[in-house]
Structure formats: C-alpha cells, structure tokens
C-alpha cells in the first residue's frame, strides 16, 4: 500500500536522488560547473513531476503524514523555482569555496526537499522532522563561507533555530496533549467538538497556539521572533541570504497556513482569536521592519529588514479569517499571490546585489553610487525590483498589495490596511534611496561590473516574473485561487 503511494512523492524523491548524484559526482568530477548543471536538471525534473501532478485529486499519503494537494504543489513549484534561481545566481559566488561546491549544491537541494516536505506535511511529527531537515541544511549553508561573519551567522541561526524548535515542540506537545492526535485533520475533528466557548477557558490550547505561532514565526521572521534576521542575512553567503528570505519564508507561511487553517480553523471563535493575534503581529512586524530599515547602511541588512516588513504584509493574509463579504479564501489566495510576487522580486533584488557586491566587494549602499552608469542592466533590474517592493505599477508588488489589502478590507481589517499603506509610504523612502544613489550618484570608477551569463539569466527571469505578475496577473491569481481551494470556504 505504501509502495503504491511512492509515485505521489516523485518530486521530493527525484530531487533527493539528484542530490545524492551531485554528492557522488563531486568525487569524480574536476569541472564543478557540471554539478550546478546536474542540480538544475534535478530541479527541472522535480518541477516537471510537480506540474504533472497539478491536476490530480487531493489525497493524503503515508497514513496521513503528507497531503498531496494543489496547495502543496503550488509551494513546491515556488520552492523549486527559487532554488533553481539561487543555484544559477550562485555561479559568480561559488569561487569563494572552490572545493566544496558539491556539498553546497547538495545542501541547497536537500534543504529544498525538506521545505517541500514541510509544505505538504499534514501531521505534527512530519512537520517537525521536515522543518529540521530544511533547518539543518540552512544552518550549514549560512556558515558556508567560514569567515568570521558567516560563522557567526551560522551559529546564531543554529542556536536561535534550536530555541524556536524547542518552543514549537512545546506547542505541539500541548496541542497533542489536549487532543491526543498529531495529524492535522484529526486535531481539527477534536477541536471542532470541544465543549468550550473561548480560548481563555482553555489555557493549554491558547499557549499551544501561541507557541506554534512563535515557532513558525521564527521561520517567517515575524516580530518579536525576527532578531536573527539582520545578523544572519548579513553574514551568510548572499545567495543563501536570498534563499532564506524567499524559500524558507515561503515554506514557513505554507506550514502556518496549513496548521492554522486546517487544524485550528474550524470553530470561528478560535480562528477569530488567532486571526487577531496575527493581525497585531502583522502591524508590529511591518512597522518595525520598515522603520529600522530606514537607518541601515548595508544593503543586505536593509533587505533583511525589508523582508521582515514584507513578512508583515504577508501576515495580513493570515489575519483575514472570520466573516467576509465575497470570496472567503481571498486572504489566503492573496497571501499565495503575494508570496509569488515577493519571491521573484526579492530574488531579483538579491541577485543584482550579488553581482554588484561581488565586483565592488562591499555591501554598503553608499558604494552603489553611480551604478546606473557602471552596470546599467543590473541597475535597471535592481530598480525594477525595488519599485516592486514598494508596490508601484507596473510591477508584481502593486497587484500583490492590492490583492491582499482588498482581502483585508473585506474582512473588516481596515485599520490594518491603513497601517500597511502608511508603511508602504515609509518603505518607499529607503528603497528609493538606493535607486537615487545608483542613478544620480557619481560613479567612483568607470570600471564596468561583469556578471556571468547564468546570473544574468536568473536575473532576467526574476524581472520577467516581476513584470508578468504585474501586467498579466490573471492566470497567476487563478493558480493561487486553485491552490487555496483545499481549505473549503
């Protein structure tokens, strides 16, 4: 019975297989570029399997450990795309650890496997194990450079990640203790029939929810569980920073949405309570992220805080529970669309930063002066991505914000939308400052900034994504809506 379900895991299995191939090939092959090629091939194969399964009916496999549904497939595809772009963009970066490229690519693939499992996991146990699988790989990747900053980043990430895991496990234990179940649907059955009318009557469930939110909140960098972000983002190799900010965050949101909407969504008093929790955390997160980003001078740290702020906007989608006018899953599909838009945009921004910083050997915003003349294409791409992060036309960011804010208004969260719009205005200041430095500043040297074709290709793909999502969002909206249909209404 189990063997017959294996074919439903082909995306993960094939990717894992390719990761093993990469490790083995690494022993025999001198030309390390081949490894990147193999990794990309693995991602493409896996993505092919994912796409092939898109039309299949929803099913739980391995005794309800994993769900095979469009929600998971949507995220798997997003993660695979992110990993592929990261590997392409790493081409200019891997020279810093020439001999260990095999391990680098293998770890990227394995963490992708972990995150893919995380998005599909339908049981607290499989969620935890998948979380650790992606976590361990990312801790190592963060300290891959082995210089002081990178090591510090890896260590901090590991230790705080362990704290967050402990918190998460405690939460899971409380929920398990209360319901006696670990599978999300079983928990939902128990919670639905609980003979209580408020969270305060049930401290264990309340604390369980808070601890789950905190544990997952670490993953998505929501305030006050975001402290690791700037240090780790600054120290980690830039491609891994991008990977953390996009893939890890997307997987975190996937698991939050699944746990909270599947297991804890049913009685409306419950979901409204944690909806308020997320709404308040969302407002705090976006405000703190934006305000602190203003004073940053290092572009990686700035993008780190900006990614915290973006997590705040994304959490608006988590807050949209309860009675709504119009379509009810609007907040969740908005969250998925926002994640798509955020993924291409943020990856694009980081990839441009990789190329520029590699040449000028600095991450300081001030050193980006005159990049419009030294590297016009990179500067255009970075500008486009920053404009999208602000949320201006004709980019993905605008549609994403319209989408998710519209959902929030429908759910009566007007105050949150106002906070978010004010925050968007604040954010324009520090994003545009980079644009200004690049285009209006005088270049410090006439030297051009070179970049490999692989990096240019990944950057072009990101920019294409930003524009496609911004100009013809229709089909992507349809995908997001199809993905969240599994939650019912």
């Amino acid at each position: 019975m189990i063997v017959s379900e294996l074919h439903l895991m082909t995306p993960e299995l094939s990717l894992l297989g390719f990761a093993l191939v990469v490790i083995l090939l690494d022993l025999f092959i001198k030309q390390k570029k081949v490894l990147a090629g193999v990794s990309i091939a693995g991602l493409i194969v896996s993505a092919g399997f994912t796409l092939a399964m898109w039309g299949a009916p929803t099913i739980d496999i391995f005794y309800a450990m994993l769900a095979v549904d469009r929600f998971a497939l949507f995220f798997k595809f997003l993660l695979l795309a992110a990993a592929g772009l990261i590997i392409l963009a790493s081409q200019d970066y891997v020279s810093k650890f020439e001999r260990f490229q095999g391990e680098y690519y293998a770890l990227v693939l394995i963490s992708a496997v972990g995150m893919m499992l995380l998005t599909a996991a339908a049981d607290l146990i499989s969620i935890y194990v998948a979380l650790e699988l992606s976590g361990i790989s990312l801790y190592v990747l963060a300290s891959f450079l082995k210089d002081q900053k990178s090591t510090e980043a890896g260590l901090k990430y590991l230790l705080l990640g362990a704290v967050a895991s402990a918190v998460l496990l405690y939460g899971m234990a409380l929920v398990f203790g209360l319901t006696g179940k670990t599978c999300l649907l079983c928990i939902a059955d128990v919670v639905e029939t609980m003979p209580i009318a408020g969270l305060l009557d049930n401290p264990a469930l309340l604390l369980g929810i808070i601890l789950l939110a905190a544990g997952f909140g670490f993953k998505i960098a929501c305030v006050p569980f975001q402290m690791w972000v700037p240090d780790v983002y600054e120290g980690a190799p830039t491609p891994i920073t991008a990977y953390l900010s996009v893939a890890s965050k997307a997987a975190g949101f996937a698991v939050i949405v699944r746990v909270f909407f599947v297991a804890l969504g049913a009685p409306s008093w419950l979901s409204i309570d944690w909806g308020i929790l997320f709404a308040i955390l969302s407002a705090i997160t976006m405000t703190l992220g934006n305000v602190v980003a203003i004073v940053q001078t290092n572009i990686k740290r700035m993008l780190g805080y900006s990614s915290i702020a973006q997590a705040g906007y994304l959490m608006v989608g988590l807050a949209t529970v309860g009675v709504a006018v119009g379509a009810d899953a609007l907040g969740r599909s908005g969250l998925l669309f926002f994640l798509m838009s955020y993924a291409v945009t943020n990856l694009g921004a980081f990839i441009a930063v990789i190329a520029i910083s590699n040449k000028i050997d600095s991450d300081l915003i001030g050193d980006y002066t005159g990049m419009g003349k030294r590297a016009p294409l990179l500067a255009v791409a970075l500008t486009l991505c920053l404009v999208s992060l602000i949320g201006l036309p004709p980019t993905a960011g605008l549609i994403a914000k319209i989408y998710i804010f519209n959902a929030a208004v429908h759910h009566g969260l007007l105050w949150l939308v106002i906070v978010a719009v004010i925050n968007s205005c604040i954010s324009a200041y520090y994003y545009l400052r980079v644009v200004k430095v690049m285009w209006l500043g005088a270049p410090v040297s006439e030297e051009k900034v070179p970049s490999s074709w692989a990096l240019r290709a990944s950057l072009s793909l990101c920019c294409l994504g930003v524009l496609l999502l911004g100009v013809i969002p229709g089909s992507f909206v349809g995908m997001a809506e199809a993905a969240v249909r599994i939650f019912g209404s």
Binding site: I210, A213, M227
Partner: protein
C-alpha cells in the same frame, strides 16, 4: 477573430520594443540593423492589419466594431477591465499612424545609419508607435490617459535622444513640461468627469452627453479641460513654444511627432470627445477661435525662419490650427480629414529636410541652395509636398483646406478671413523654403564648421531613404481624393456622397476655391520673385517691415515671456519663493519632524540589535510571555 486584431495591432510594436530593449540591445548590440528590421516588421504588420480593420469597420453596422472588454484582474469582487474600441475615427487614425510610422522607420534605417544609439532609437520609436496606437484605440479614460502620458514620455526620450547635446536635453525638458501644463487640465477633466458620472468609459460618456444628462457648465468645463490637454499636445497658442524646439531630436522623430503621433494626439482627443464639445457652444467656439488664431499666428513666424526644420515646425502649428478650426467650425470629418492629409505631406516634408541634411550637414537654408540638380528625388517629392500644403488643386492639401475654409466661412467670418490670409502665408513660406533650398547656387553647406564640404560631396540619399519619400509623395497627391466623393465625410459621420468627377471638377465651379487658389498662387509667386528670380530684394523688404520682422523672428518674444517673466519673475521670485518660505518653515518642519522621529525610532530600535545572542533568545521568550499576557488582559 476580428476582435483580436486591434490587440495585435497594439501589441506588435510593443513587443518590438520589448524584444529590442531586452534581447537585441543587451545581447546583440553588434548587429544594429536587427532592431530596425524588427521595428519595421512589427509596424508593417500592424499597418497591414490596420487596413484589414478599416475594411471591417467600413462594413460594420454604425461603422463600429464590437470588441469585448478583457478582464484584466478579478480579485474577489474587484474586477478591472481593459478594452479597446475601433470606430471610424480610430480606423482612420490607425491608418495614418501606421503608414507614417512605417515610412519613417524605413527611412531611419538610412538616416540613423552608424549612430551608436541605434537600438535605443528603435526601441523608443516602437514604444512611441505602440503608445499612439493604444491612445487611438483606448475605450476608457484611464487607459487613454496612460497612453497620452506614454506618448509624452516617448517624445521626451526621443527629442532628447542626443541627450549629450545641451540643446536637445533642454528641448526635451521644455516639450515635457509645457505639454504637462495642458495635461493638468486634461487630468482635472477626467477626475471631474468621473466624480460627476462615475464612469471612465468613453462610449458611456458620449451617450451621457448626447442624451443631455451631462450638460451645462459641467460639460463646458470638462470640454475645456480636455481641450487644454489638446492645446498642450497639439502645440496650440499659448502652449505652442515647445514644438519648434523639438527639432533637436533626430529628423525622422520630428517627422513622426509632427505628422502622426504626438501633435496628432491633441486633435484626435478633441475628435474623440466631439459629442461633448458638440453639446457645448462655448467649448466648440473656443476650439475654433484658438485654432484659427494659432493658424495665422504660427504662419507669421514661419515667414522669417532660416532653419528649414523651424519653418516646417511653424507650418505644423499653423496646420494644426487649421485642424482645430475645422473641428470647431465643421466637425470631426473636416478636422480629421485635414489631419489625414497633413500627416502624409508633413512627414514627407520632414523626411525631405532630413534627406537634405544628410547631404549638406546643415538645416540652415542660407547655406543650402542648388540642391535640385544633386538631389532630384528629394527635390521632386519636397515640391509635391509643398504644393500640397499650399493647397494647390488637385493635390491632397487642397481638398481638406477647402472644406475648412467653407465651413469657417459659414460659421465665423472673422476666422475665415484669418484663414484666407494664412493660405497666402503658407504658400509663401513653403516656397521660400523650396527656392532657398533647391534653387539657385549651392552656398556651401556646413562648410564653416567642417572645413571643406564642397559641392562635389552633395549626393542623393540612399534608396532606403528615397523610397519612403516617393511613397509619401504619392499619398500627398492622392490621399485628398478619398473625399472628392464625400465618402470620407460620410464614413466619419456627416455629409453626403456624390460622384467622383462631379466632385473633382465641380469644385472649380465655386468661387471660394478660386480665391484660395489665387491667394496660394500669389504666395508662390512672391516667393519666386524674392528668392528665385530676385526681382525683389528680401533684405529690402525685411528692412521695410523691420518691426514685423523682429516680431516674427523673435517669435513674439514668447520664449522670453515664459522664461524671464513668468518663470523668472512670477514663479521663481514670487510663487516659489513664497512657497519656499512656507515650505522651509512650515511643511519642512513638520516633515523633518516626522522623518527625524522615524529615523530616531529606527536608531533606538537598532540599539536592541546588539548582536548578542542571549538578547535575541530572550526576545523570543519575552514575545511569548507578552502575547500570553495580552490575551489575558484584553482577550
């Protein structure tokens, strides 16, 4: 199927822009010709499809194609539509824009040969054409305004194409800022309309105006706001100052701007909203008066210019004035028919000027002369275009100008007399240009700058430049014949059809055409007398009328008025200084306060980011405790 065609027509040049700027320019920069081929291919295909659309529109009921809106975005119950409309007006504009753009693009392959910014040039040209096509097909005001600004932006980019020349950069800025002044009126009108009617849809707005729901002062103000936008774009008095300076761009760009895209947009806009104007007597009269006045006002300045492109620029303003007069006094068909004919002969004139420049290296007519022998094709086509613009029977300019004169005669005699004088002036300044450029002996070209640039170097332009000239020359002769039978008028909504021969020769049985022909002929004769046969000394006449000469050649001191008095005194010293005072004391204080506050908060919060691991871990614990406590306090 038919309703896909307008989209394809719009998207072809847009894709050409995308391909050139994102594929050809970064990766194939060493193959400059490719960009041209892509553009020509795209616009050629768009042109062919425009003819198909014209045929479709001709046979469609009410001369209007039903094109279903495309739902651009549907989020919950928020639905945003985009749509195109193709009616008779659009069909005619599509033909004009695509033909002129196509000939200009082909011509540019020769003219821009070897320019380092080749790909950039074609990318902007494609985008320019795409915006104009979108503008003429847009079915709602938001879309239309988007492309309206897009056209403005592209003309800014193209006028300033050689941005390293200060004159070009200044001209681009001037064009952008002056047209923006008009755009404020347009934007205000759009917002006011939406506020009053709740719709952006042009068809619905027409319906409201015709049904009389939209009426009175509201309608008048809206119409005047829209007309303000048109005045800016079409360089009508008093916002005409940007167009002559726009010469600084590459000459094919001038051809496109003057003939089919930028300035035509203003006339098109008035035509598009004609039902609104029609129902407001005052708005319609303003259009006619501004148009008629601009026609003669610009013509006087054209009399004395020495730069061939400036002569042509003032003639464009003047002819645009005619179009506005035609719209105001006669209706859509009369104004648009002149736009239709004018597009071809004006594009031809500019391309001819470019061809002359290609050979002599200058635009100054005082340094030209005698080019008739060296450049026979250019000379012949330029002559045809000049005859056409002067309104000589049976060339195209004659037919549309005659209609404008007839309608203004019926409507407003004063404007009619002004228009008649303008006919004389037009003929004079055009043939002054012809005789100075092509007649007499060669006067050295740009030799003063480039050392010896002897007559032996004079040459006819390459085929790729001459063929567009010939095509446009043919159109300059025959395009007017479309309305000899009255078919064109009927197509655009009024007038009746009669037989071709009756129209073609019958028109000469009326006195009015004869008067205008005599005026035009005497204008040509005077030019001949002064600049070719030298019976009259141009200098002597210039001295005799020196006050006028100074007035005209200094362009009525409008540049000085705007730059020194309005910008210098009123704005900089008065308004800006006042605002600056308020700004630095009031607004700045508040803004700085907020900004400083935010930055200070950022710095304070950054303090917490000490890098100490224990603090970070404690934050997690504090967060959990705080959330729990809040739940018990407020939950």
């Amino acid at each position: 199927m038919t309703y896909h065609i307008p989209w394809i027509v719009f998207l072809l040049p847009l894709f050409s822009f995308i391909i050139i700027s994102f594929i050809l320019r970064p990766f194939l920069n060493y193959r400059p010709k490719l960009g041209g081929y892509v553009t020509i291919g795209a616009i050629g295909a768009a042109c062919a499809l425009s003819f198909w659309l014209l045929v479709e529109v001709l046979s469609a009921p009410g001369h209007k194609l039903e094109i279903p809106d495309i739902q651009w975005l549907l989020i919950g119950d928020l639905s945003i539509h985009i749509g195109l409309m193709v009616d008779a007006l659009t069909a005619v504009m599509l033909i004009v824009v695509t033909i002129v753009s196509l000939t200009v693009q082909i011509y540019s392959q020769g003219y821009m040969h070897g320019d380092p910014g080749y790909h950039r040039y074609y990318a902007f040209m494609s985008l320019f054409t795409a915006c104009m096509l979108g503008l003429v097909m847009a079915d709602n005001l938001v879309f239309l305004y988007l492309f309206w600004e897009g056209v403005g932006l592209c003309s800014y980019l193209l006028i300033g194409f050689w941005f390293h020349r200060p004159a070009a950069a200044d001209a681009a800025k001037k064009a952008f800022i002056v047209t923006r002044l008009g755009d404020f009126g347009f934007l205000a009108a759009i917002l006011f309309l939406f506020y009053k009617t709740g719709t952006f849809d042009i068809g619905e707005l027409h319906g409201l105006a015709i049904a009389g729901t939209l009426t009175g002062t509201t309608l008048t103000w809206v119409a005047i706001g829209i007309f303000a936008g048109a005045v800016g774009k079409s360089a009508q008095f008093p916002l005409h100052v940007w167009l002559p300076d726009a010469m600084e761009g590459p000459t094919p760009v001038s051809a496109l701007i003057h003939a089919a895209t930028m300035v035509a947009a203003g006339v098109f806009l008035v035509a598009r909203f004609f039902p609104l104007f029609e129902n407001s007597e005052m708005a319609l009269t303003s259009v006619a008066v501004i148009g008629g006045f601009t026609a003669i006002f610009a013509a006087t300045m054209g009399l004395v210019m020495t730069d061939i492109k400036r002569v042509l620029a003032y003639s464009t303003i003047s002819q645009l004035g005619y179009m506005m007069l035609g719209l105001g006094a006669g209706g859509i068909a009369i104004g648009i028919f002149h736009l239709f004919n004018h597009a071809f002969f004006k594009a031809l004139l500019f391309l001819g000027a470019g061809s002359v420049n290609h050979s002599t290296g200058t635009f100054d007519m005082r340094e030209m002369g005698g080019l008739r022998k060296a450049m026979p094709w250019t000379y012949a086509t330029f002559l045809i275009a000049s005859l056409s613009i002067a309104g000589i029977w049976p060339l195209s300019g004659f037919w549309s100008k005659d209609e404008i004169l007839v309608s203004s005669f019926a409507n407003n005699p004063i404007l009619f007399y002004l228009a008649m004088i303008t006919v004389f002036m037009t003929a004079f300044y055009m043939f002054r240009a012809v005789f100075l450029t092509f007649g007499g002996e060669y006067r050295g070209g740009a030799s003063s700058e480039h050392g010896s640039h002897g007559a032996h170097q004079l040459h006819e332009s390459p085929k790729v430049m001459v063929i567009p000239l010939v095509v446009l020359a043919a159109l300059s002769i025959f395009s007017g014949w479309l309305n000899v039978t009255g078919r064109f008028d009927e197509f655009l909504g009024h007038g009746e059809v009669h037989s071709f021969t009756q129209g073609f020769f019958g028109i000469l049985t009326h006195p009015l055409p004869w008067i205008s022909l005599i005026l035009a002929g005497s204008g040509i004769l005077l030019a001949y007398a002064m600049y070719s046969a030298k019976w009259l000394s141009a200098e002597a006449i210039g001295k005799a009328f020196s006050p006028f000469y100074a007035l005209f050649s200094r362009k009525y001191w409008f540049d000085e008025l705007y730059e020194r008095v309005i910008v210098g005194r009123v704005l900089v010293d008065g308004l800006f200084a006042g605002c600056g005072f308020f700004d630095s004391r009031g607004v700045d204080g508040a803004v700085n306060g907020v900004a400083d506050g935010t930055a200070a908060a950022g710095r304070a919060l950054r303090q917490a980011q000490s890098g100490q691991l224990q603090v970070y871990a404690m934050a997690i614990a504090v967060g959990i405790v705080a959330i729990m406590v809040c739940f018990y306090l407020f939950g």
